[in-house]
């Protein structure tokens, strides 16, 4: 009960701060749109081939955009030393972690919703596979990015070059999930096969990394 209440408290605070500053959402949206448009000019978006590469472009754009949001999320706790107040509070660190992951998930999901129509227009996309499977892959893939990103963002928070450290740590760790997201999305867009195995991979990846992050986050938060 306490965990749920504290989780809501953290989530509400993060959403309120983002609503007022729009730091993460603006940078993410701008970055994702930029990548989508630049790739649209680099490739011939009308060709059949675009359906094969669209999944990769979409997820790479979102991965880079997510990094921007994740750096903002923890930087906000460093301003005015707020992190020390959070470390001293006798509340569950896992509630803080889950609140931040959920807030980041919502920010990235919002950007996905805004970028998707632009993406469809620029790449002349017509989804041949199942729409609900695409939605499931989007949810699982986004969770994979934000759960790892939030955890490693906390890990690199006190390093001098944290904005460089986060992608350096996050990209290799995210590779299996990224592979799953891209392959599943491509399968759905082309309608060639049902990406059951990739969805299973993403589900297992999400569960493992969520559990491991929850087990380790208290030590990360308590570190000097």
């Amino acid at each position: 009960m306490n965990l749920a209440r504290t989780f809501v408290l953290h989530l509400r605070k993060d959403l309120r701060l983002e609503w007022r500053s729009k730091d993460a959402a603006n940078s993410m949206l701008f970055f994702a749109l930029l990548v989508v448009v630049v790739f649209a000019f680099a490739f011939d978006p009308l060709a059949e081939e675009s359906r094969r590469i669209a999944g990769g472009i979409a997820w790479v754009a979102l991965l880079f955009a997510t990094i921007v949001a994740l750096n903002q999320g923890w930087a906000r706790e460093l301003r005015n030393g707020v992190l020390d107040a959070l470390r001293l509070a006798p509340a569950s660190p896992n509630a803080l972690f889950l609140g931040k992951v959920t807030a980041n998930f919502l920010f990235v999901a919002l950007v996905e919703c805004l970028v998707t129509p632009v993406f469809i227009v620029f790449y002349n996309l017509n989804v041949l596979g199942s729409g609900w499977q695409l939605l499931l892959v989007a949810v699982l893939g986004t969770w994979a990015l934000v759960v790892n990103g939030t955890f490693f963002g906390a890990l690199s928070i006190r390093t001098r070059n944290r904005e460089l450290m986060l992608p350096l740590i996050l990209f290799p760790i995210s590779l299996p999930a990224l592979l799953g997201m891209v392959m599943a999305t491509t399968d759905i867009l082309t309608g060639e096969r049902v990406p059951r195995d990739w969805i299973k991979l993403l589900t297992v990846y999400d569960i493992v990394f969520t559990v491991v992050s929850l087990l380790l986050f208290e030590s990360i938060l308590g570190a000097e």
């Binding site: 504290t6 408290l9 030393g81 107040a85 001293l88 509340a91």
Partner: protein, 239 residues
Amino acid sequence: MSEPRLNPQTQNSHSQPAVELQAVSKLFDRFAALHDVNATLIRGRLYALLGENGAGKTTLLRIIAGLSRPTRGSVRVLGADNPRDVSGRMGYMAHSTLLYDDLTARENLEYFGGLYQDRKILSSEEARDLVGLNNVDVRRRVSEYSQGMKQRLALARALLASPELLLLDEPFSNVDANSISAMALLLGRLRDEGTTVLVITHQLDALAGVADEWITLRSGSIVARSNSLSESASMRSDG
């Protein structure tokens, strides 16, 4: 500033000291920020911690709060060997405000108060009353406050859970003279109610007549402990 309300949480005074430091040293690489510090702080007293910049005052405060671990030695706070186990019973105010600039005073106080669910928490109004911020526009964000108002709000945040041990790092910085007097009186009242208060300050006059003991740090070691400011000054100059 209005009269703070007596809180049963601070009335439950025990005979054991609030803080016991035994041979505490803190090294940053080869630099010793603290060197073999031994001290006992009795419950229900107000201590002023003095010393020049770099003497180790903030490091000592952070170790007592549990934000930093000593390289050597042991710390016992409110009967616990690990200060983090009793962090809910402590109030901590740092150099920085520990507040979100983009939230209002009420939102900040309600958020941080919500993190202390096992304690009796002051309401946002009660906390602001204590530090004389009852008349500010609650819709204003903290970023729009003056530095002195931010300091008082930071003190209100530290007082939210009616702490048994209050650790304050230069609470009077950038605060006007009237507010300093009111804050010092408030600290005196909290001490009278049973709260142990440890205050780092360079504004010695602010705590004259309120502090029970003056502790002076120099180069990471305690060089003087005295019950009066004048005696403390002569001990510091002798040392």
